[in-house]
Amino acid sequence: MPRPSTHYKESADKIAVWDISALYEEHWEDLFKQTMRILLDEDEAADVVQQTFLDLLEMKEKISGIKSIKSFLFIMSRNIAFKKLRRNLANTKYLNFYAGHYKEESAILEEWIVFKELNQMLQIEIDKLPAKMKEVFILSRNFDLSYIEIAQRLSISDKTVKKQISNAIKILRLKVDKRYQPLLLALVLTDILF
């Protein structure tokens, strides 16, 4: 159940009225901490949090009917932080530093390799899916579209899209090597659907 927020109220025209300073007060610290999991530098993290709120101010007229301002803030700051990280990683020094650190954390590479293997296997099986189902599945997976967006694009109902994707997952689960099944389920759920 969504937590009622005191910081914005839906007005009749669906444009939320926000109290930025109350939002800042409530969320800045968690945003900052999230950012420090991505970037190493407190100054950079401060910039990310600042940018998040500036973007929110800038966009508040353009976006309406957002269900949760909190998740919106977290996604925005995450994206800004990762954008900064990508820019940082273009620098060899930074890249070496990161790679050197992750070398110690073997789990990250292991998980990546499992993910890649599964992905390859999945790709082979996806190619064998019935044409329409394959199209729906690829739009969801590779183009990051929502059920509704896919439905609009293919002029079918979103229920059909949902059904097609769940059927595709059922088929793929059966096809892929049994030993990967528990992993696959997790992978499919977290990486493909969401």
Binding site: S68, I108, N142, S146, Y147
Partner: protein, 364 residues
């Protein structure tokens, strides 16, 4: 391929946009799952409060001072990762503020929560202070309000515009803080290790000599290390410079791995963005004129003059046209109203100034 090489390949593909959407998501999820800075956390409440205020100030100055007419914006479409809670994905426009600028901003006002010097305690309480305090006063003030254990508590002193503050630390070191400065320091220095304080803005230090426990000023990622001396530090975030000027004794200034040894009469000027350090002589009387209540400008660029006074009066300065290399010389008392100062400056420079609230427009 070694693990490290593999990781480098993955990360550089990520930076270069060579991964698929699914791969990017997975990698970002892994980065969040296995953060590099595992034990990261606030050092104490003062650290947190200072950060909170810093972001808020930046936020307020950049959001209120944006010019709405400057319209040319580059729209960048940004795919946003789907929202876990609502199963939906949205694409939104991220517009950068690269606007065509009709006026040229030279200095920016900051927002101060209080027009008094405040002490921020380790549990985040803000206590008003007068013009000077010794560590005994500070301890007294803190423990009137709070009965927590004083050991190792970091506190911060924040000076608003048009104020200065004189402080004696736990070890007997004297600090003069100029308008806009923030100093973080422990209520009690650890008797075994180095004495460390953090400075943003301008401060003058007379460090109590103690060879066994060096005194360190951390400023915008740089470090000034001394045992007992007199020196001035200017750490201005908006200029991204740290200037350390030595009057007496010996200091070592370091940025990254490089350290510079200073002799009396020398100062380092470090550009923290370009990572460049220049060692140069300075005029002590001029440099410390702020303590005596004056601005002394000796053929200084107008833009630097305006940045200096903006810190004192807390004003935003904009010019209609780029200001050419106009040089200003003269001594001005800093207790005069801004309008008087600008009238004098107008005579000297031949430029006209207009005050709109906290914004000063240079009509050139």
């Amino acid at each position: 391929m070694s693990n490290e090489k593999q990781l480098k390949k993955i990360l550089s593909d990520y930076a270069g946009g060579k991964l698929s959407i699914g791969e990017v998501k997975k990698l970002e999820q892994l980065i969040l799952k296995y953060p590099l800075m595992k034990p990261w956390g606030w050092k104490d409440n003062a650290h947190k409060e200072v950060m909170k205020e810093r972001i808020r100030e930046k936020l307020e100055t950049s959001s209120t001072r944006r010019k709405p007419n400057n319209k040319i914006r580059i729209l960048i479409t940004w795919g946003v990762a789907a929202c876990l809670a609502c199963f939906c994905t949205f694409t939104y426009f991220y517009s950068t503020r690269t606007a065509t600028i009709k006026s040229y901003k030279i200095a920016k006002a900051r927002d101060y929560a209080s027009d008094q010097v405040v002490l921020i305690t380790s549990d985040g309480k803000q206590i008003k202070l007068g013009g000077a305090a010794s560590i005994a006063d500070i301890k007294h003030k803190i423990h009137l309000n709070n009965h927590a254990n004083p050991a190792e508590n970091m506190v911060a002193v924040k000076v608003p515009s048009q104020k200065q503050f004189n402080l004696t630390l736990d070890d007997g070191t004297k600090v003069w803080l100029n308008a806009g400065a923030i100093l973080r320091f422990p209520e009690t220095f650890d008797k075994k290790s180095e004495r460390i304080v953090h400075l943003e803005g301008e401060g003058y230090f007379e460090v109590f000599s103690n060879k066994a426990q060096p005194f360190k000023v951390m400023a915008l990622g740089t470090e000034v290390k001394v045992t007992g001396t007199r020196f001035n530090v200017q750490a201005f975030d908006d200029d991204h410079t740290v200037k350390t000027a030595l009057l007496e004794g010996h200091v070592s200034f370091s940025m990254g791995k490089k350290a510079y040894q200073l002799h009396p009469g020398q100062q380092t000027s470090a550009d923290i963005n370009k990572k460049q350090v220049i060692v140069q002589p300075f005029d002590a009387e001029k440099l410390l004129s702020w303590k005596a209540g004056y601005f002394v400008f000796d053929n200084m660029d107008l833009s630097e003059v305006m940045r200096t006074v903006s810190r004192w009066y807390n004003i935003t300065v904009v010019a209609q046209n780029p200001i050419n290399n106009k040089k200003i010389g003269g001594t001005f008392p800093n207790n005069a109203p801004l309008s008087d100062f600008l009238a004098d400056l107008s005579l000297l420079s031949g430029l006209k100034f207009k005050i709109n609230g906290e914004e000063v427009l240079i009509m050139n």
